[in-house]
Structures are given as C-alpha cells and as structure tokens.
Symmetry: C2
Subunit: 332 residues, 2 copies
C-alpha cells in the first residue's frame, strides 16, 4: 500500500492540518518511460502556501483531492527509463507520498553527493540552497564590503544567503523572529549582526546594525519588515524578492507604503526570483554549495519530523515559526 | 538688471504661483573660471516638485530665498574660463533667471546641433530625451515585439519613450489624460494604441490595448495607473520608475496595493532611473536623438511660454495638465 497526503479543502491563508488527509492507495506501477521512487525525505517549504492558493500564484494550484505537490528525495526501486537505474537516488517532484511513479521530467536531479546526508538534497543542496545562491548572486550582486540584510535569516534559504554573502566578502546582517533564532544567526550562520523583528523600534535596530545603509536586501517576508528596510536602502541598492512569508493572504490584496519613490530616489532595483527559471544553472550551483559544505564554510540546520503522519500540520507549523532549520519529513 | 524667480515659501504639494516671487538684482559678474550666460530658454520639469520638496528627495531642496533651480539654455556673453568662448551656446544649471554667472561644472553640455532649434536642448535633446532613451534602453531593455506601456505618454519624456520603443521594434502603448493627448499619442508620436486614464475601466482598456500583457512599463506616474498595470506584467517584465507625477505629496507617505507579490510571481524587475547618474552616456545619447530628429523618426511637441513672468505658475500648470508638449519659457 502507498500512503499519500491529499488536499481536501482549500484554505484562505496558510493550510492547516485539517485541510489535508492521509489516504491509502495501491502501490503505483511505473508505465513505459517512468520510474518508481521510494521516498526517503519529503520537503516542507514556505512556498507551498502559494502552491495551494488560488490567488497570486506562479503555478496552477494543487487541486482538491490531489496529492500535495512537494519535492522529495528517494531511491529508485523500479525503472522503465533507460537513463535511470534501480538503486540510484533522485530528488524531484514526487509529492507527499511514500511511493511515486513519475516521468523523468519530474526528476530535478540525480543525487551524486553520496558523501553527504541524503536529506540535504531538499535543503542546502536543494532548492533552498540553490535559491539562496542564485538569487543572491544574480539579482543581489553583492560586492565585497556591501551590507546584505536578510529577512527570515535563520531559515533554510536565509541561513544560506547570509553565509554565501559572507563568503563573497559582504557583511551579512540577519532579521529573524525571537532571541533563539537571532542567536542562531550569529553563532551558527556567521552573521555579523542579527535583529529580532519582534523587538520594538525595528528601524532603530536596523540603523544600528547597518550604519551605512542596506546595499542588498534579500526579502523573504514583505510586510512591515520590508516597509522598514526600503527607506534605508543605499543609492543603487538591489532588493531580491524571494518570498512574502509575512503576508497571510493576497485576497483581498493588502496595501502598504508605496515603494516607487524609494526605488526612484535611490535608483534601486527590486526583482523577483523563482528557482524554476534557472534549471540550466542548477547542477553547477549544487556543486559549488556542496564544496562549501565540505569545506565547513556553509553550515545548515535541519528540523526532521518523523513519518508521513507529520505532514498535515507541517506547513502550518512552519508558519508558526516552530522549526529551527530546514523542515523535512523522514519516512521509515 | 537681472530678473530672477526665487522660492519664497515651501509648498506641501506642487508649488503654486504664490510660492515664488520675481526679484530684480544687479547683473551678475563672472568670477575667475566662471562664465556669464544670457538665458534664452528656461525649463519647466515635473521633477521640479521633488527639487523643492523636503521629503523623498534625491538632491538637497532649493532653499527659501534662492533662485529656483532649473536647466536653461543660453548664449555665453562673457567668459573667464579658457574652454568656453563668448557666443557659444550652452545648456546647464543656470536657474530661473535672465543672466547666470556660473562655474563650468554647472554646464551640462555645449550645444552643437546648430541646425536644430535651440530650445530642443531642454527637451528632446536635453534631459527629457536622454532620460527617455537611456532609461528605456538600460532598464526597460525592450526587445522587438515587446509591448511597452508608457504613462504620461504625450509628455516630454513619454513621447520620446514611445517613439524610441517603436524605432527599436517594440509595440508602444500610451496612457495619457484626456482625448486630446490620446489623439496626440497616436497621430503625432506613433503609438500603436493609446488609453485615456480618466476613462472608466482603465484595466479593461489596458487589457484591450495590450492583449499579451505588458513587457515593459515605463512609469512616470505611480499611483492608480501603476496599481492597474502591475497585475498585467508578463513573466520577466521590466518596470522603469522614472517619476511619480500622480502622487501629490510624500508626507504623509501614501499607501497602495503591495507590489512585491507581482514582482515575485512575474519574476519582474522594477528599477529607478535618475538622469544625473549617466553623465558618461549623455553626449552619445544626444547625438543619437539628434540623428533620429533629423531623419524625422523622433518628433517632439513644445509648449512655449512667453517671458520670465510666466515662471511662477508654470510648474503648477504642468501639474494641471495644461501643456501639450515640453514646457519651456522663452526670454526676450
């Protein structure tokens, strides 16, 4: 039997446990050209909220009754595709389920870093790390000495952004929620300074941590944090828009202080980044990230939940801020 | 005697006639290294509102009692600078006054297009044309077949943007206020289509004029027009933020629908442009624009006011939308 987590109702904000159900079905059988993957780790991403939402999406939303869309990493247990062999490990769009029979275009990549933990293919060596690396370098373009300010700085993307900025010679400053995450930013991820966005006077805290202003703002949150950062951009600053985690819903569409004047006066640039546009750079990025991990220059934190039963509440928990690293679900 | 227009009080919104006064003073005498310019045309720019404002500025505001900052073009009538000779025409920061004694760094450029009207040095061959050309090409990066949507499309910047977009093979669509300017967009400036932003259902009108969405949005207005355009950007769209003409004041700072999600979902880029960053490209741009003017491919409209007495109300009139082309003031 194959256990699957399906969407049973559409939430207006973040999906809660009761928007999902666990269903049993027969083991899938790979068709011609397909492979059968036995998932070892399932991913939990903030972006899943967008994959479920009806509004403001960049992909068709997950349908009611469908298996929750997700990245996963597992072992090939049957193959009817000439380029993939039983026993290989692959990461891809296998969904929140134990077994997936998929076409080869569902595979993001073959996992070749066999000296490193398999779960990293969903985190620092997966879309989180590659997003951090490519969005920071292609849009943020940090120069040595720049101040790079990162929101959700202890998260799976943010923690990599801060460390890569430091590797590239910039000064990384993190914004995170709560004293624990602020400490984790500085002690584990090497941020030069970190700020608790829940503290009063966020603007003053940013001024103190970024006395020369913000050259690169890596934005995972939008909302009040961004509203406080925009007036502090330097001339020619770059804003990487990577997520909008602080906005609970886009229907009705929320308002905020207009940013056009900041962009004009500072001759600044704000640009959105979605990893799916950058398949051609993916392998090279993973190779670079893996090298930094092996050298001990790129650290990561994981938050491993146990068993498929943990799926339904896993996304809501992410938005409750309860994880301390990349959240994955390990299947037995 | 030298007549000068000075700022006598600071407006909260757009400066009105009574924020200025005309003052007489002695003819200025050029010091060592200076030139004395007899102004022939004074410029009136939407951006002057920002040069006067206390808030949201990119330069120090004009002081109370100071001559209004402005570009002007005139003839050198005395020179104590070795590189400038009496009789040459120059454009530069000479202010709203009849005579200006200035250092050479106030000169933007020597006017060499003596076959074309002198006033063009303040319009299509001045910062308006150069802004249109450089902002469109450096930030907008229109490709053949792209849809380029321009706000204040009949204005001195916008009219050049539309025509340059067309020259570069894109499809230009204009947004302007009122039937006259809409007609001017299509008949005089070659827009493929033009839209009256005062008409009901602006969104439907944009949909009809841009059936494939907006690849480049050249934004001179911000405000409701921009709020209507952002949801219609295509994947990978570019927004050139060149002005915020529709926002009467930035204190208190106005709010609007958040644009982060549009930028993220569309992987779009919004970037501010200020001409003063691009001195190194100025001469080459003017040479290109002059060539297009001579070939009849780049048309312009001028709105010439008569005499320095027209200055105090000239900016307010611009914001009332009464001009039908680049507004300049001709001195006798």
């Amino acid at each position: 039997m194959n256990r699957q987590v399906v969407l049973v109702s559409r939430p207006t904000g973040v999906a809660q446990a009761d928007n999902f159900a666990i269903r049993e079905s027969n083991d899938p059988v790979p068709g011609d050209g397909q492979i059968l993957v036995h998932n070892r780790f399932l991913s939990v991403e903030p972006a899943m909220r967008g994959w479920i939402a009806d509004v403001g999406n960049y992909t068709a939303p997950v349908g009611i009754g469908e298996v929750m869309r997700s990245l996963a990493v597992g072992r090939i247990v049957a193959s009817r595709h000439p380029n993939y062999a039983v026993g290989e490990h692959v990461a891809g769009w296998f969904g929140w389920q134990e077994f997936a029979a998929v076409d080869s275009d569902a595979i993001v990549r073959r996992v070749t870093e066999t000296d490193l933990p398999l779960s990293l293919a969903l985190g620092v060596l997966g879309i989180n790390g590659v997003t951090a690396h490519l969005a920071l370098t292609l849009i943020g373009e940090p120069k040595p000495g720049d101040t790079v300010l990162v929101s959700t700085a202890a998260g799976s993307v943010g923690s990599a952004v801060g460390q890569i900025a430091t590797i590239l010679g910039a000064r990384a400053v993190g914004i995170a929620g709560g004293a624990d995450k602020v400490r984790q930013c500085v002690e584990d991820f090497g941020y030069a300074a970190a700020i608790d966005y829940k503290a009063p006077e966020l603007g003053h805290a940013i001024d103190a941590a970024c006395p020369n202003g913000v050259d690169v703002y890596f934005d995972n949150t939008a909302g009040v944090i961004s509203d406080t950062v925009y007036p502090r951009l330097t001339i020619g600053a770059r804003v990487v828009i990577c997520g909008t985690a602080s906005i609970p819903a886009w229907d009705p569409w929320p308002t905020g202080p207009r940013i056009e004047r900041h962009l004009l006066v500072k001759r600044a640039r704000a640009q959105g980044f979605v990893i799916f546009d950058h398949n051609d750079r993916y392998d090279a990025s993973v190779a670079q990230l893996a090298a930094w991990v092996r050298e001990g220059r790129l650290r990561y934190a994981e938050d491993v939940l146990d068993g498929i039963e943990a799926c339904p509440d896993a996304l809501a928990g992410l938005y409750r801020g309860e994880n301390r690293g990349k959240r994955v679900i390990e299947l037995r």
